[in-house]
């Protein structure tokens, strides 16, 4: 697991109160984690703080699964 993947999963796990090991890349925020729009806003803020980048909400909204969020962050940071 890459460093970015591990850190994204850690943040998601903290936000939704789950063990990082339980998170699968095909899990959706809305259906598997029951994330509401306000939960996504908080997740974006936590990821911005962790990685020191700005994440426009319109871009973040496109990431429906954990895997997509990880890929998005990797691209954003220019890694992997």
């Amino acid at each position: 697991m890459s460093d970015v993947e591990e850190r994204v999963k850690k943040i998601i796990a903290q936000q939704f109160g789950v063990d990082p090991g339980e998170l699968r890349e095909d899990m959706t925020f809305a259906e598997d984690l029951m994330a509401e729009s306000i939960d996504i806003v908080e997740l974006i803020a936590a990821l911005e703080e962790e990685f020191g980048v700005e994440i426009p909400e319109e871009e973040a909204q496109k990431n429906k699964t954990i895997g997509e969020a990880i890929e998005y962050m990797k691209k954003k940071l220019g890694v992997g």
């Binding site: 939704f16 109160g17 789950v18 809305a30 259906e31 984690l33 029951m34 509401e36 729009s37």
Partner: protein, 439 residues
């Protein structure tokens, strides 16, 4: 009966649920889809009232049939349930229970009428039905066969209910249509005999049924549509009712605003502010608080200040959970869909596009409740749980029903016990998810 030039003899009608009935959960957990309200009447009542001499058969999910047949006031007309043999004799009009019935779209020529891929209705003759029944195991197979056999007519103008918010979107228009239709047949009070009511708009668009009671200082506003106050209803002072609206039999409006596009079924107690909402029947929303663009089931009790959001702060389309999937409604205004026998404590707030299952006990603790609440849960101090289990919930439901002089039947109890098991897996999964997040 004679119907136009095409039909002579006793007419036979079948109304059926198709595979999409459960898109309307939680409202269709406890009733067939055709027993939902839109406008004044339930969906199937519109068909039965139009063809008053017709023999009727119904097709619905098996586990609903017993409780539904006990409750329906049309029991005497229903000749068969879930019985394909009924289709063997005579021609039949077979209507989808999700169709917002429009008699102008019915033609008694052999065909299957479809909208997109949905069968709206079929009119099939005895010979065709018997041929199809030889190879069909169920009604869905028979209708699919008939599409090929007798041909399809496209009916793009038909209104088919795909999701619960469709009932709300079409409610205002349906109220206007139905109230106009019922206008001449309804025994009405002479408005001149009523004390100090104020009417804004046309007085002839206000229909007060015989036996309804209007207290002094009530305002009826018919400028946007008609209002029907049904038999035995009571409108207390300082209520304003805007049309199009329907106040059902023996329901009370206890002050406050009933705004346009609202249907209130029988034996409800409603106050506060209600807008573009359907309250199915036997439900209390006595006190202040706003309910908008929502469908509230039966035997629901909404505590004082219970409020639904129906518009997001960013004015984006509302999304609603339907059977575990978040669906974009395509609408800016969508409220909550609340299942039968659910109760909310004072100050409960529901976020835009919420779905609440049946028999929940929701005690809020400040913030809005979760957007999706499965059936038979408690929320207390912000934590979701299975509470004390089903039996205490049933005891409460019996007490609630007895207050209106109705005893919960054994069939209804069996239905709720069945539903408790049917919804168990989802409930346990969501309780786990929410509890880990401290909800």
């Amino acid at each position: 009966m004679v119907d136009g030039e095409f039909y002579i003899g006793i007419m036979k009608i079948s109304i059926f649920e198709d595979g999409f009935a459960e898109n309307l959960n939680p409202l269709t957990l406890t009733r067939p889809v055709f027993a939902l309200r839109c406008g004044v009447r339930l969906l199937y009542e519109k068909v039965l009232d139009r063809y008053q001499d017709a023999y009727v058969s119904l097709f619905m999910r098996d586990w609903l049939a017993e409780a539904f047949l006990e409750k329906t006031s049309h029991r005497g007309r229903i000749r068969a349930v879930n019985d394909l043999r009924w289709l063997r004799s005579d021609s039949h009009l077979i209507a989808n229970g999700r169709w917002l019935f429009d008699e102008n779209l019915v033609e008694f020529e052999e065909m299957v009428a479809v909208k997109d891929d949905t069968i709206v209705y079929a009119y099939l003759k005895e010979d065709t039905l018997n041929k199809g029944l030889k190879t069909s195991e169920n009604l869905a197979e028979l209708l699919d066969w008939a599409r090929e056999e007798v041909g399809v007519k496209r009916l793009d103008e038909a209104k088919v209910i795909n999701y619960p918010w469709d009932l709300i979107v079409w409610n205002g228009e349906e109220l206007r249509r139905e109230i106009l239709q019922l206008k001449d047949s309804l025994p009405k009070e002479d408005l001149g005999g009523l004390q100090s009511i104020s009417v804004v708009g046309e007085r002839e668009d206000l229909l007060i049924a015989k036996g309804a009671k209007i207290y002094p200082n009530v305002v009826f506003d018919t400028s946007s549509g008609p209002i029907l106050v049904d038999e035995g209803a009571k409108i207390l002072s300082f209520s304003i009712i805007q049309g199009p609206s329907y106040i059902g039999k023996d329901s009370w409006i206890v002050g406050g605003k009933i705004r346009e596009g609202t249907s209130i079924g029988p034996v409800c107690r409603v106050g506060g502010e209600v807008e573009e909402t359907i309250i199915h029947g036997y439900t209390n929303k006595y006190h202040a608080g706003f309910i908008g663009h929502s469908y509230i089931g039966e035997w629901v009790n909404l505590g004082a200040l219970t409020t639904t959001s129906d518009l997001k702060n960013d004015y984006s389309n509302v999304e609603v959970y339907i059977n575990g999937k978040l669906i974009n409604t395509g609408h800016l205004k969508v409220g909550s869909f609340i299942g039968d026998h659910t109760k909310t404590g004072i100050g409960a707030t529901f976020t835009t596009g919420s779905t609440v299952g049946v028999m929940c006990n929701l005690i809020p603790s400040g913030g809005p409740l979760p957007k999706y609440i499965p059936s038979f849960v408690w929320i207390y101090r912000g934590r979701m749980s299975k509470g004390l289990g089903l039996d205490p919930m049933l005891r409460t439901a019996r007490k609630v029903m007895m207050r209106r002089g109705i005893e919960m039947s054994e069939a209804e109890e069996r239905l709720y016990r069945y539903l408790y098991e049917k919804t168990r897996q989802e409930r346990e999964r969501l309780i786990k998810i929410y509890r880990r997040r401290g909800r």
